[in-house]
Symmetry: C2
Subunit: 300 residues, 2 copies
Amino acid sequence: MSGQESSLVTLGLDLGGTKIAAGLLEGEELLAFVERPTPRGGAAVVRALAEAAREAAAGRPVTAVGLGTPGPLDFDRGVVRFAPNLPGLRNFPLRARLEAALGLPVVIENDANAAALAEHHLGAARGARHSLFVTVSTGIGGGVIIDGRVHRGAFGQGGEIGHLTVLPGGPLCGCGNRGCLEAVASGRALERDAAYAYGRPVPVPELFARKDATARALLDGAAGYLGQALASLQKVFDPEVIVLGGGVALGGGEAFLRRIESAYRAHLRGWRRAPLRLARLGREAGVIGAALAARLAARS
Amino acid sequence: MSGQESSLVTLGLDLGGTKIAAGLLEGEELLAFVERPTPRGGAAVVRALAEAAREAAAGRPVTAVGLGTPGPLDFDRGVVRFAPNLPGLRNFPLRARLEAALGLPVVIENDANAAALAEHHLGAARGARHSLFVTVSTGIGGGVIIDGRVHRGAFGQGGEIGHLTVLPGGPLCGCGNRGCLEAVASGRALERDAAYAYGRPVPVPELFARKDATARALLDGAAGYLGQALASLQKVFDPEVIVLGGGVALGGGEAFLRRIESAYRAHLRGWRRAPLRLARLGREAGVIGAALAARLAARS
């Protein structure tokens, strides 16, 4: 970022299944951060985003607005194609509606791509040229950053790391295919396998707390597939740093990271490895990344 | 490529395990193409490359020289780290020796990356912004092209598609890890499995010619893993076009491509797909790509 551009005040919005967040980024500093619950339905979501934006800006002039949102996006038209956790936003023209509500142009970005951008420029991958971000939570998402920019790919599917096939013929994934990383290593996959193993529902935090052989086997299984997937990507995309975020990765902390790293190394004998790091920006990553996306778009 | 740069005459060299090739590229036209056997040993290889270069140039002034070579490269130092099919080139300062022999600066590129670049700009992926090239021959290599340039990655490992883990715990690969794409879908892997199934050595061309259930099962197996790997990459790197080259892919032709495509589609239910195409530039891809690499380097 050049000095002139980064001194501009940029608004970042983050639309999640349960929360909406807004933040104001000047240079590398987050001047304001507000959160509120996500309402149901497209029109209500747009109103809530606009209110959060005005609250975060608090009258300061904003030069650019970025919005991070789940779901496969049609970047050209600014439309959310579908978002499983946001009913009512199927094929919704989110960008145009929000631009009308704010009276400002809006840049949209996939939420995982936005977090990847934030960690790349201002978080755990700071200083790298190429980095990979993987978020392990209910599902698994990610972002590929090349030369400081999000690699969206030809169809906007770039960075969908959760859908790498890691176990041919494995469990059915929400995407309709079998053996995706998400289907064997996400929070939902862990809970599916824990419920089967224990015969009752066991949430992920309880799994991390338990010290029995079953919990260990479940976590080693998920960590093994994560390490395998990251090792595969090291040989195709070859990032300089790999950042892990999301509730499951951060909930497991350094201990879970070491399990992932052990599998990652075991799949990279003879190859060079990028360091694995935990994400640093926490719940603010989304708004910071959305603001950075708007700033980068203004530049190009 | 701008008109001015592409009108310059660039020399492309391609160092293979059995053949050395040299070609002269002006604009999009290959003015000359010469081939000779690869001698043993670093010094002899440098002499043969220089002779092939002079023969191809035939006295015309050359503005840039590119060399495609196998093996993991140290791009910064211009050194071939190791190349299984080129004994005597371990940690060999190939670029410096060739520059001394030619009296011209030389740009080196991994041979699969060079072929990827050639197919992207002048072959089967012409017109695409991002493309993926996979070469299936004795081994499996590849190249990732983003915005018209090779993605080398942080450690020069970018595009090593043959080492994606596609079958956890699967056969041991030459790289020392298990279940790599190369270990289950390359020419050598097919011949290993054919020798076991038939109880005698069966070369790949014979496998393609046979119509029995065993040959069909062997080829379907390899095609299945290729399709799975390409589908995984569609969701992370999201190319606009995927190009398949190399002796095994081209030897199998449209029939083998259809088997790969069937697996590729089966792993991409609900996702957008890039078209799969066979490589078009044949044995000239290496020298064309090496010349393009030199041209692009001169530009930046």
